[in-house]
């Protein structure tokens, strides 16, 4: 088995916040920012997913560069 780079484990965070956070988010019965808190929680997790995948993508690209197997430059920039 190859070792999974540590930063890639970040990808599980938003998923865990949705799957593990919903039981707690569902206990808030108030509206927050005009939205039901549960909905706001999920929207936050979706945004966090996007940000996390962007971070992992750039860290992967950096790791690939330092390993010498650099992906083509234009696509790498588009990740940021």
């Amino acid at each position: 088995m190859r070792r999974v780079p540590l930063h890639r484990w970040l990808a599980v965070v938003p998923g865990l916040l949705i799957l593990g956070g919903v039981p707690f988010a569902n206990r808030v019965h108030r509206l927050v920012l005009g939205l039901p808190f549960l909905l706001l929680w999920i929207v936050g997790c979706v945004l966090l997913t996007s940000a996390t995948m962007a971070l992992i993508g750039s860290l992967d690209a950096k790791a690939a560069r330092s390993a010498g197997a650099s992906p083509d430059p234009p696509d790498r920039d588009a990740l940021r």
Partner: protein
């Protein structure tokens, strides 16, 4: 003919014309509805991609569930994000393997990995079985739109027959060259309509989102949180997980991994696609806005809520445009689903079973199967009283049973055997089919168990047993797989 019906009839005719014109155009498959997007600017591409996630399921079904169920509808927003995070790791692996072995379809992957044409046939049958409720959903949506646009002159059954005729004619006209322009028109229209409705209706009727949700919360306490029983937290979490795992098991989703130009596409998609999901919010807002304005739509009738509140708020010509956008969101995915199902039956089921079938026969058979599959879908559409969302939930329950066999095939040497995979898939499908056909639920089966267990989505229970059977049978049959077979070139084409 009233103005609304006239407008959607014109759009239907227009879609046919675009389909005819597209005959010589580029090939478009289910996995690339917005293939035309490549040549456009960044803003237009963003709009197209954002519009692309709307099918009848999200447009009528999503608003229908927000209207009728409330908080459980939020699951639709939750699973996509997890699926895209998984895709970052899963799709490059599939892409590399598929590219190296020149694979074309989803069943090919299983045939090649497990060296088993029989498994390929099984996977194909599962895919088609899962596509049927997806197709029924589009037909049902089309039927709802046409019957609502007629302002009561057409019955739902008549509207469904008109819809299926339109769908088959559209597929026959545009053939395998689906119209990229129809897809683009659909993406833009649905985005404008969905976002427009989602912003306008809450402000018009309530003065904003906050007042709207406050009014709903006051009128229906607890509607905006998950209930303690039924569609509880347990149902929500298991459904989000199941749908996230099943997201790329659909034949079109899976094969979309093949068409990427490079692995970087997947990296970018994992960042951008979750953001597109957020446009679903506007569909929810529309459904919520309808709750207090067009009350009384019970059960599956909730799917009518978006169109009913539109009819309340706008004159018939505007309603016609909203209906036309809805029509395209059913027609474009519906035609692709129909074609995919017919093609899989012909290419991945018939051809492996009947040796020496020529390419022409396969093509003819695929075309011939289009009306057959469509008629089967009509039967289900007219016989079942299901709302749109439960139909897709059933599709996901069926298709996600492919996940264990797929994920265990990914290491260089698969962790499962072909017999194990088949046993696992058959187990999972049998449980889902039995529960769906007999209406058995965990709550009925185990009345004394806590609802944390009995509210679980039956698909996740089926998949767990699927995994267990797969591992057990694989352990028993392991030595029968010769190690050297793994690295042989693929037999599949």
């Amino acid at each position: 003919m009233n103005p609304a019906l006239l407008i959607i009839a014109l759009f239907l005719a227009f879609a046919f014309v675009l389909g005819l014109l597209a005959r010589r155009g580029r090939t478009m498959t289910l996995e690339q509805w917005a293939v035309g997007g490549r040549g456009f600017g960044a803003l237009l591409v963003f709009l197209l991609m954002a519009g692309e996630i709307y099918t009848t399921f999200t447009f009528l079904g999503g608003s229908g569930w927000a209207y009728g169920r409330g908080a459980p509808a939020f699951y639709i927003l939750g699973y996509g994000a997890i699926a895209y995070a998984i895709s970052y790791f899963l799709l490059p692996v599939i892409w590399r393997y598929a590219t190296r072995h020149h694979l074309h379809s989803q069943p090919d992957f299983f045939v090649s990995k497990y060296k088993s044409p029989a498994l390929g046939v099984l996977v194909s049958l599962v895919s088609v079985a899962a596509l049927v409720p997806y197709l029924v959903l589009q037909l049902k949506g089309l039927g709802i739109i046409i019957s609502e646009m007629s302002y009561g002159t057409l019955s739902v059954a008549a509207a469904v027959w008109i819809s299926v005729t339109a769908l088959v004619v559209y597929v026959v006209i545009s053939g395998v060259h689906g119209s990229a322009w129809t897809a683009i028109l659909k993406d833009i229209m649905i985005l404008v309509v969905a976002v427009g409705l989602g912003l306008y209706l809450p402000w018009h009727y309530y003065g904003g989102f906050g007042p709207m949700f406050a009014a709903i919360d006051h009128a229906k306490p607890g509607f905006l949180t998950l209930p303690a029983k039924g569609m509880s937290v347990s149902w929500f979490v298991s459904t989000v997980l199941l749908n996230a795992l099943g997201f790329y098991m659909w034949p079109h989703g899976f094969a979309s991994a093949y068409t990427a130009r490079s692995e970087d596409v997947f990296r970018k998609n994992a960042v951008v696609m979750p953001l597109y999901q957020l446009v679903l919010l506007f569909v929810f807002f529309t459904g919520f806005a309808a709750i207090l304005q067009v009350p009384g739509l019970a059960g599956a009738q909730g799917d009518l809520s978006l169109l009913r509140i539109s009819k309340l708020a706008f004159p018939p010509p505007v309603v016609g445009l909203i209906g036309a956008a809805g029509l395209l969101t059913a027609l474009v995915p519906g035609s692709m689903i129909l074609l995919t199902a017919a093609t899989i039956l012909s290419k991945n089921v018939y051809r492996p079973l009947v040796r020496g079938t020529s390419e022409q026969t396969v093509g003819r058979l695929a075309r011939g199967l289009v009306p057959v599959v469509a008629l089967a879908a009509v039967c289900f559409t007219l016989s079942g009283g299901e709302a749109l969302v439960p139909l897709l939930l059933l599709g996901y329950n069926l298709v996600t049973q492919l996940f264990p066999a797929l994920v265990l095939s990914l290491p260089e040497r698969p962790l499962a055997t072909r017999i194990g995979s088949m046993a696992g898939i058959v187990t999972g499908e049998a449980i889902v089919a039995w529960s769906s056909l007999s209406g058995t639920t965990l709550a009925k089966l185990l009345p004394t168990w806590p609802s944390v267990i009995t509210d679980l989505n039956i698909g996740i229970v089926a998949m767990t047993l699927n995994f267990a059977v797969l591992l057990a049978v694989s352990a028993v049959t392991r030595e029968r797989v010769p190690a050297q077979a793994i690295e042989e070139p693929a037999a599949a084409t």
